[in-house]
């Protein structure tokens, strides 16, 4: 009995958590963090609670988020039920054969809810490491965020996250590496290659890649050097923004628990972040020629601060 109750060693690190589970994961990094247990369950909750949000993915799949007594239940269409219990740092997941896809889903909204319920920020963003610091790339959908991050990774900069990133506003303000995965549009995957990345799954739109274990590094938090807001433009340019000009864009890409307390906490963090961290506007056309110029501009901005 005592042996059964011993904690298993962590499998790896993601978003600042040391993951313990009987499941096997492809996207974890070396290192530790706060304990997080992930286990299969999938049972529909008897009483999921208040409906907080109906979220539609780009593919039109619905995710419903409920909250009751401090816990969250998520129902993902065609997949099943996830549970998030902040008080025990546990995420329960449905039984599904879609391994790589499920793992990508676990390290998204379920983990974000766990973090947000305790404070902290989560952005829709990609993140790369430049000179041992994190640079966040963010903006509206279809603005080339993942492609730009992939190009920076191909140029030798460690990819820390490709979709959601956890940020704790300080001092110091730090970013936690997310899953070592990349979901790239099929047409982009034809010509943009990340050395050592392994193709693990495909869906109708994207190729799912696991980053080379030898290159993904640890889950240790990095100081945040700055944030790059992506805009579309006819030419490629980058400019530093005044804090007041950045908050609307940052707010749009910030996840928050859609309750008054959740919004108030994130609002305060976002304004503090804008005050303390450099923010740039990078405008570019979405062409391969402009991509190389954009990569150079981001690297220079990351080095300059």
């Amino acid at each position: 009995m005592a042996a059964d109750q011993e904690r298993r060693p962590p499998l790896g690190s993601v978003h600042g958590f040391a993951v313990e589970s009987e499941l096997r994961f492809r996207y974890l990094r070396d290192g530790g963090g706060e304990p997080l247990t992930v286990r299969e369950d999938g049972a529909e909750p008897d009483a999921p609670g208040d409906l907080l949000a109906n979220l539609k993915s780009r593919q039109g799949h619905l995710t419903q988020v409920y909250q009751r007594a401090g816990r969250f239940s998520l129902h993902m269409e065609n997949v099943g039920w996830f549970g998030v219990a902040p008080e025990t740092s546990t995420i329960t997941v449905p039984r599904t054969p879609y391994g790589a896809w499920l793992e990508g889903a676990i390290w998204g909204l379920p983990v974000a809810l766990l973090v947000l319920s305790r404070g902290g920020l989560f952005f829709h963003a990609a993140v790369v490491e430049i000179h041992r610091r994190a640079v966040i790339l963010t903006g509206p959908g279809y603005h080339g965020k993942t492609t730009l991050a992939t190009a920076l990774a191909a140029a030798g900069h460690r990819l820390l996250a490709e979709d959601l990133v956890r940020c704790d506003v300080g001092p110091p303000t730090v970013v936690y590496p997310g899953p070592a995965m990349l979901r790239l549009r099929r047409d982009v995957a034809e010509w943009l290659v990340v050395p050592g990345a392994e193709r693990v799954a495909e869906d109708a739109e994207k190729v799912h890649l696991a980053l080379d274990p030898g290159r993904r590094g640890t889950g240790e938090a990095l100081p945040l050097a700055g944030i790059v807001l992506l805009h579309l433009g006819e030419t490629t340019s980058i400019e530093r923004l005044d804090p007041g000009a950045t908050i609307r864009d940052l707010w749009r890409v910030t996840l928050n628990i859609p309750t008054p307390a959740g919004r108030a906490q994130c609002f305060s963090d976002v304004t503090q972040l804008a005050e303390t961290v450099p923010v740039w506007k990078l405008a570019r056309p979405l062409t391969r020629e402009a991509l190389a110029v954009a990569v150079a501009m981001v690297i220079e901005a990351g080095r300059a601060t």
Binding site: D242, G244, N256, R263
Partner: protein, 95 residues
């Protein structure tokens, strides 16, 4: 706007000062809608820390401006109507 109207900050609104600037940010907690006001708007918001009659608000604004424009009253009423429309303030009409 009837004389004696009292202006009150919306109870479901939080605010933050814009870092390094004179403006302010207002967030409606129920809708999540975010609003940005300029320096004069931030001054008005500060003056509404406690509920205030509209005429008294106008006087206090004028006292803070070096050169209050002649259109201050009309501009103020339009601004307040806009804030009320967005749910950021409440207008309590006097008797």
């Amino acid at each position: 706007m009837p004389a004696g109207t009292v202006i009150r900050r919306g109870s479901r609104v939080v605010s933050e000062r814009l870092p390094g600037e004179t403006g302010a940010l207002l967030l409606h907690l129920d809708s999540g809608a975010y609003h940005r006001v300029n320096g004069l708007g931030a001054l008005i918001w500060d003056l509404l820390t406690d509920p205030l009659e509209v005429e008294l608000l106008r006087q206090r604004i004028a006292a803070q401006l070096d050169d209050a424009p002649g259109s201050l009253e009309l501009d103020l009423l339009a601004f307040l109507q806009d804030l009320a429309h967005r749910g950021l303030i409440a207008l309590e009409h006097g008797r």
